[in-house]
Amino acid sequence: MARIQAGDRRAEERVIELYGRSVAVLLDRHTNGRPEAQDLFQDTFRLVLEKLRRGELREPAKLPGFLAQIARSLAIEHYRKATRRKTDTDSEAIGEAVAISASPLSALLESENAALVRRVIRELGNERDREILLRFYIAEEDKDRIAADHGLTSLQFNRVLHRARQRYKELFLERTGGAALMAGAIILILITLWRGRAGG
């Protein structure tokens, strides 16, 4: 906190390194994966760091909560403004979603990701687990109903998802190390952009 208040840029970068992934996850969740998550990411850290520079947050332990609160508030405010501006259906979001799909990089990542998931599901060797995953992630059915249909407790159901995620993680680390590096590079680009804006 003291280093940031003293204008130490390395301390600010360290804050982003520590909390960048989780804030990105939070914003991805609140924007449902839309591109404005990147703008909100920059706005969140810009606002938080400005406050830290001014010494508005004195307890370091409260920084994660402070970050989460700022990111959530910005996302909510963004959609409030977007709702007020909106005069048509969600055509803008549809256009943006199409733009993401049209990006060669995102198309490549999606294809790689799909191949990983296909392998995870194939390796499950269990029709029940396969059905659970599809119902939960594709149909987005209620977790309790799926569990009840298969006679599973909530814990057993969570284990099925956890196993799938862990295998997905193994394959992800095994086969797409390059992509992981690419994701890290994207975060670095975001940081650079933020620094550029903050400096300008």
Binding site: E110, A114, L116, Y137, S154
Partner: protein, 277 residues
């Protein structure tokens, strides 16, 4: 702010609930404050999000692939030469068309058969209706005839029974005479006498007596086709007793001569004596 431990997060499946947006607002805020500082939960959330995107991409790929298979045939066909296109089109037409023609032919034949059967049924229906009509007419005629018959029967029953008692001449005292049983006769009883073939009289005359008293006399009688003289009496004219009928022949000059006397006996109980008309 309440802290969250990983056991609670795992037991309640907060990772899945969060990334699906199913957590209540306050619990969502608590979980966010936790995972922003928790690399482990952040990783689980990233994996969940990545896995969901991967599943959706996989399904999208499968759908796209199925669509491409359908459109690929047409694209491949579009790249062929015009002659090849026509050839393939003709082949496809033959493959698809011949069974269609066969089915169409069969269908036409089937429709014709159905039409014939329908015509037969309609013809049978018409015949049945005609027969039904005729039957109804016959029934009506039968009822009419029965009605007429019922009306005709009473008049045919009317003649009744006319007993005829043939009287014969008695030659001696021991010879039995004719008997009329009034309980076995009807309303009338006829007395017949044979005048004999040798006598040629212009007419005949009869006289009925009982105990010497004349009860009835009738002149001008003529024999019937059986050469028999017949006189009819109401049954009620007689009462049980002995009677005698005397027959006389009248010549053309008016001279009468007795032909014979015919005694008879009346028995039984009749309706009572009445006078002759």
């Amino acid at each position: 702010m309440t802290t969250l431990d990983h056991a609670y997060i795992a037991d309640h499946g907060l990772v899945e609930l969060y990334h699906q947006g199913l957590l209540p607002p306050d619990e969502e805020a608590r979980f966010e404050e936790h995972f922003v500082a928790c690399p482990e939960c952040t990783e689980q959330l990233e994996l969940a999000r990545g896995f969901q995107r991967g599943v959706k991409s996989m399904v999208a790929e499968d759908v796209t692939r199925a669509t491409l298979i359908q459109t690929g045939l047409f694209a491949w066909l579009a790249r062929r030469g015009r002659l090849a296109q026509w050839g393939l089109a003709l082949a496809a037409l033959l493959i698809l068309g011949l069974p269609a023609l066969w089915f169409a032919s069969e269908g036409r034949s089937l429709r014709q058969t159905v039409a014939v059967v329908q015509e037969r049924w309609q013809s049978r229906d018409r015949d049945a209706a005609d027969l039904q009509k005729r039957l109804a007419e016959n029934e009506a005629q039968r009822r009419e005839l029965e009605s007429k018959l019922a009306q005709a029967k009473p008049s045919e029953v009317s003649p009744g029974f006319l007993p005829v008692v043939l009287l014969t001449a008695v030659r001696g005292p021991g010879e039995p005479a004719a008997t009329i049983d009034l309980s076995r006769t009807g309303d009338l009883v006829a007395l017949a006498v044979d005048p004999g073939a040798d006598a040629h009289f212009a007419s005949y005359r009869v006289t009925l007596t009982r105990a010497g008293a004349t009860l009835f006399r009738q002149a001008g009688l003529q024999p019937n086709a059986l050469e028999t003289l017949m006189v009819t009496f109401p049954t009620s004219f007689f009462t049980p007793g002995e009677y005698r009928l005397r027959l006389e022949g009248v010549k053309p000059g008016g001279e009468a001569s007795e032909i014979g006397g015919y005694p008879f006996r009346v028995v039984g109980k009749g309706p009572g004596r009445t006078s002759l008309p």
